[in-house]
Symmetry: C2
Amino acid sequence: MPKWVYSFGDGKAEGSAALRNLLGGKGANLAEMASLGLPVPPGFTITTELCTSYYATGKALPSTLAAEVDAGLAYIERVAAARFGAAENALLVSVRSGARASMPGMMDTVLNLGLNDETVEGMARRSGDPRFAYDSYRRFIQMFGDVVLGIEHEAFEDLLERHKEERGYVLDTDMAAEDWRLLIEAYKRMVRERLSRPFPQDVREQLDGAIRAVLDSWMNNRAITYRKLHNIPDGWGTAVTVQAMVFGNMGSDCATGVAFTRDPSTGQKAIYGEYLVNAQGEDVVAGIRTPQPLTEAARLANRGDGASLERAMPATFRELEAVFARLEGHYRDMQDIEFTVQKGKLWLLQTRTGKRTARAALKIAVDMVAEGVIGEQDAVKRIDPQALEQLLHPALDPNAPRTVIARGLPASPGAAVGRVALSADEAYDLATKGEDVILVRAETSPEDIHGMHAAKGILTSRGGMTSHAAVVARGMGRPCITGASEIRIDVEKRRFSVAGLMVNAGDMITIDGTRGEVIKGAVPTVEPSLGGDFQTLMGWADRVRTLKVRANAETPTDAQTARGFGAEGIGLCRTEHMFFDNERIVAMREMILAANRRGREAALAKLLPMQRQDFVELFRIMSGLPVTIRLLDPPLHEFLPNTDEEIAEVAKATGVRFETLRTRVAQLHESNPMLGHRGCRLGISYPEIYEMQARAIFEAAVEVGAERGGGVTLEIMIPLVATRRELDILKELVDAQASAVARTSRAKLDYIVGTMIELPRAALRAGEIAGAAQFFSFGTNDLTQTTLGLSRDDAASFLDAYERAGIFPTDPFASLDIEGVGELVRVACERGRAARPSLKLGICGEHGGDPDSIRFFHEVGLDYVSCSPYRVPVARLAAAQATLAAKAERD
Amino acid sequence: MPKWVYSFGDGKAEGSAALRNLLGGKGANLAEMASLGLPVPPGFTITTELCTSYYATGKALPSTLAAEVDAGLAYIERVAAARFGAAENALLVSVRSGARASMPGMMDTVLNLGLNDETVEGMARRSGDPRFAYDSYRRFIQMFGDVVLGIEHEAFEDLLERHKEERGYVLDTDMAAEDWRLLIEAYKRMVRERLSRPFPQDVREQLDGAIRAVLDSWMNNRAITYRKLHNIPDGWGTAVTVQAMVFGNMGSDCATGVAFTRDPSTGQKAIYGEYLVNAQGEDVVAGIRTPQPLTEAARLANRGDGASLERAMPATFRELEAVFARLEGHYRDMQDIEFTVQKGKLWLLQTRTGKRTARAALKIAVDMVAEGVIGEQDAVKRIDPQALEQLLHPALDPNAPRTVIARGLPASPGAAVGRVALSADEAYDLATKGEDVILVRAETSPEDIHGMHAAKGILTSRGGMTSHAAVVARGMGRPCITGASEIRIDVEKRRFSVAGLMVNAGDMITIDGTRGEVIKGAVPTVEPSLGGDFQTLMGWADRVRTLKVRANAETPTDAQTARGFGAEGIGLCRTEHMFFDNERIVAMREMILAANRRGREAALAKLLPMQRQDFVELFRIMSGLPVTIRLLDPPLHEFLPNTDEEIAEVAKATGVRFETLRTRVAQLHESNPMLGHRGCRLGISYPEIYEMQARAIFEAAVEVGAERGGGVTLEIMIPLVATRRELDILKELVDAQASAVARTSRAKLDYIVGTMIELPRAALRAGEIAGAAQFFSFGTNDLTQTTLGLSRDDAASFLDAYERAGIFPTDPFASLDIEGVGELVRVACERGRAARPSLKLGICGEHGGDPDSIRFFHEVGLDYVSCSPYRVPVARLAAAQATLAAKAERD
């Protein structure tokens, strides 16, 4: 049997901060503080392993637990010099949860445990304050009743309110000792009626019940949801800390408060916190009384008229200052601390690393390096790369009121305000008139690109985190909410409804892509400003990392954004995105609908100069850096019209008969286009398409190469390769175009040819394929789809159920499935490099911007990751952290 | 440098039959016959390696070849006592192709090479027959002109016809020596005009040209197509055999003929063949003169009025009989022999293993075992499993005329005759009226099942060898042609057109699923009869093989067929096929459209007794054998109506509002259903579906188990698993149903739970998954789709181009992609068995009936393969051959 119980207090402890996984954050830090000699009420922590065992055995408790709890209680009794359940000077305890990762407010707590009809009288006698004693007892019954006995909170509140009404009281402070005593009787009667048994008077029975209740609260709905949102595994379990109570509400020499050692919002180095005189911890949070600031400076800044702790209890404040400095120095990070002053004596109830905004995190990390508390690499490790993205997008004014009318998936962060447009054309038209637009669609398709680009934000009622809308929006840096399923769009009536509310096209709405909230009306936004701390930290990250970071970009705007964010090249230029423009789509359709190769070539001849010009612009922006260009990838029917009306339009524009066109559209239809005639399969069937693209690329390279500043390093990428032979055929085609252009222009072309690895077969045959490829770029989106047999367009309908059932720990399209897809990536790297040691390896799926995935990519030895422009800083930081993590593992 | 040239003749040879890969079939057997001391004209063979080198080096010939050819010529000259290009007694040679595998008529041949203006005169003098000499020369010019110089055959024929017309001749025999001489001049003039150079007189230049022409013919379109059809790799190359000419046309003591040592059509043990007196080999084939039978018996049987060789040249016949016996005994197989008699002397020009019908192959193999020539295992090795399937399906009368109006893919073998029906309902109605029906559709869907079942055969204008139509048809044993793209179906006008010809609904057509031919009108068919030879051979196969063979079946008919063909259980019972029945589809739709779990359960309660009854019938038929039942697999929208009309119908039947229904149908639509909400994902989302199915299975098992004869061994299979957790959840669900049924019925249930391995992730995580699975069944159809990123419904549009470009050696849905998909199968077997040594391993994809794939499955150690009922004998034989091949490799 493992050891289930770890005690602490009186300047020593069985645990320490290092045992966080076993004792939870709270228990570990209490132990650590006790060992540091800080004033911590004595207590013991039941381990997270007990919780895991509890759930593994159908909620059975191991036979050895009771004896260990007895020993723990005896320890507390000894240190606190009080006895649990004793008539006089009874020991009271708190019972709290504490997981490895902080889950504030998600699980249950019981305070004042150990009070019963007898001990309350002893407390009244000893404190000389019967009102305090009875108030504590009724609080305990209320809390225990709610948490352990399952009687809803309101039932107790009702009795209290009734009592106050009957006596004409307004505030709780109107309640005298006798009032509380009478209320206690009423509470106990109610409990007996509800449960057909009395409120437990046996203190040990109380404790066992509270321990079980805290364990049970690990699996309440709030906790489950919180864990899902924060990627906390169910298997971690919670610890339970039982600790002697101290009281901040025993008179005016008592107080309770919470503090941060630095400002968690701005990062400023100043004690930040609040306290209340004569109060219990919960009162600070409850908001009935207004807490006062700790420091005089804060009081003056807020023009407060109360007294700061600094003024009210100067000795305690100085002690607290010293404790804060000690804890920050010890933990080498900003701390979030709970304390109580009982009759002039300071007790520390909790310390933990304080949560902070991304902005504060940056400032604190950079400041601490300047202060010599941590090193640059520690600073790099400290910042959550995901949080960094907040800083790059405009955000809603946090102080503005918001009327949330619907929720969806936070598909692309940031906020946007604009008028509702229900089609891409409408969005485009409105935007042309200078209006800000939110494009609202059931879902988007490549035909909507112009509208998405024109819009400030995108909202869809269907689709997941990796639907077309989500991926494109992230790429464009547009805030986006997908899968807002409460929204019913009625395109004909030009409006959408949500829970009875009608929103018309043209109405103002706001979307918060970071939270997934749809808000009625315009909420004011604040623009991001990237301060010096950001640049300093990114500089440190760049010094550490070995993985290069590129961007997925094809438009000049995206490329410029990417370069501004420090992208070291383009890792994925999706040439198909260049074909959706109004003028081009006509030529594209001509090409697709042509009866033969000659017809296709004629249409391609029209596309060539446009495509070349795109590349010229891109190459100028990316001058001096590598640019990876993927040849046409999506199935051709994506470019075709769908409705009869659209077909008629195209028929008119191209001069092709309506019937012919409709037949061809039907012929091009595929049951599973993701697995259909796309990628290099198009290049094999219609070599002229790839020939045109290769020619446009090389001609653009020659043009830009001749300019001052020089050109780019070209990497031509063949998509969806499954066999070596496909690559052989298409590499020959590309080389032939390069030779032709080089001959005509007498220029030297600097290019390599490589392939996407996005099919399991390609990963398995990587050794063979590397014989023909100078680089691999892992297309982890498609590789995830094929390896898991999971369409990202369709997965939304069950992915949620899957995450809830614990089947996928996280969305495999957001964070790489390292066990499955990752093995194929690893195998492909090994086999590819074995066959060609100089093989360049990169990744250009959505996972290129995900920190967990980046860590894996670093481990398997990729040369670079490529992600959407706004994710570039995220990736730079994550890459640096990956290097540090790998180093730490080696050491 | 390798040795390029191997000589033979005069009782000895540098090569032998063992060098078939190097010398081609013809070259190797000529060498072998020479070594046996049989009368073979001397010659030499240029190796297939030369051919490979020729294509690898851009058609360059190695520098050492010329000298080796010189040496080879010198050898022939010595043995034949004649000189190449000599004015008197000139050596003439033939130049022929010869690949490892026979490719009859696909490549080029040049005869009589060595004739020129000078040597022809010597030949005339020596033979005393100027007409013969000139005729030979003009044949040579004609053949050389066509094959080597690229002048079309017709140009020569024209000149010959013109000459005959001018002189009023009718037959070639009317041509006198002078006529041939004049024609030769005309030929030479024409060649000079066409090519601006004379017809080559240098015999060595002739020879070099002919060698190159034969090498080039390896890559002519006919040869490429033939190789593709017969899975012969391009890389094998052809050998070139240069051999002294002998003449069967030098007078009435000359003859030429072809013979089989046994009847290739029936397998009867009797010399079978034809000959012509005073003729060259090509005349036998050309059909201008009617060849005579070799034996008297054959002449009498055919009531022929000519003379058999047995009568006309009794000594030669006896010599031939002895040679035949010698060769058959030597090769231990039926031989196909070409011979020539020149002035009474017998020469053998070729021997090879004779092609034969499946029926003959069976008889010959079984007879030869009885004769003690070969052993049982040799007999098992001899039969092509693929060919066996011919015997099981009805076939068209080979003697009946046929008007082929279109061609498609031979998707399911056998022939069928019936009236055209253009919808499943129409097919069903017509069939109910007792008509034979051919269902003709653009493509089929699961909704067409009743029509497909009702039809005698299926024809689609779209789809590939593994489209829905193809797979279902093979499963049902219905002949089927898919992808007959010339056919344009006009459902409204109730007809289809093909190349201008209209075929109306109700018209009679015939389809030959073995050849992929659509035939106008009714061609008579012949029913298969499986004789004793078949049973004998299958018995030997069963004694050898270790791999078990099961069938994919769900209907009683299929199950009975399968058991009749020797299936050792059902490896895949697709429960969804049970839901398409008219009555059931309504309940199924109710279930899908239900607003909540309660509604679904109500609908499922209606389906339960029907599903149970299906299983009862199935279990009775399969009594004593294992039955693997796959729980619901396809996406739910497959069961839903598509058109507004159909939706209205369902709305009426189910009482659900039309709008609601249409919305739900749209909601269920998926972009890539193959990768969507299907398989076990349905079981996770809607556990009540799987609960109903499990209950139906167990209740049926109890019912049948109580009957005399007992029940089956149940294997419950969860489809599309990607993670261990999915299986854990669903296994628990199945076990719960089993417990419930066992409790109620007090019966003991014999079942195991396992999973399909059909996603790359499942294969990779097989170790983990095996922890929860008692068996794996590889779903190689889906595993191929996901590993290659290739939808079988859509691949038809480019798969052909892919095979032509040499990207896929064969259709990966027909024969397993061993390098890619195979690695995943192998990995899954290893990891699965490592985690659970008792793990049962099987395969239930289409590949389960493919001999090449079966060999691989045997190698990786599967326990069984499961295939469509008509493929069961094929698989039994292929499994036996796999065992023998593996044994041969070990030895």
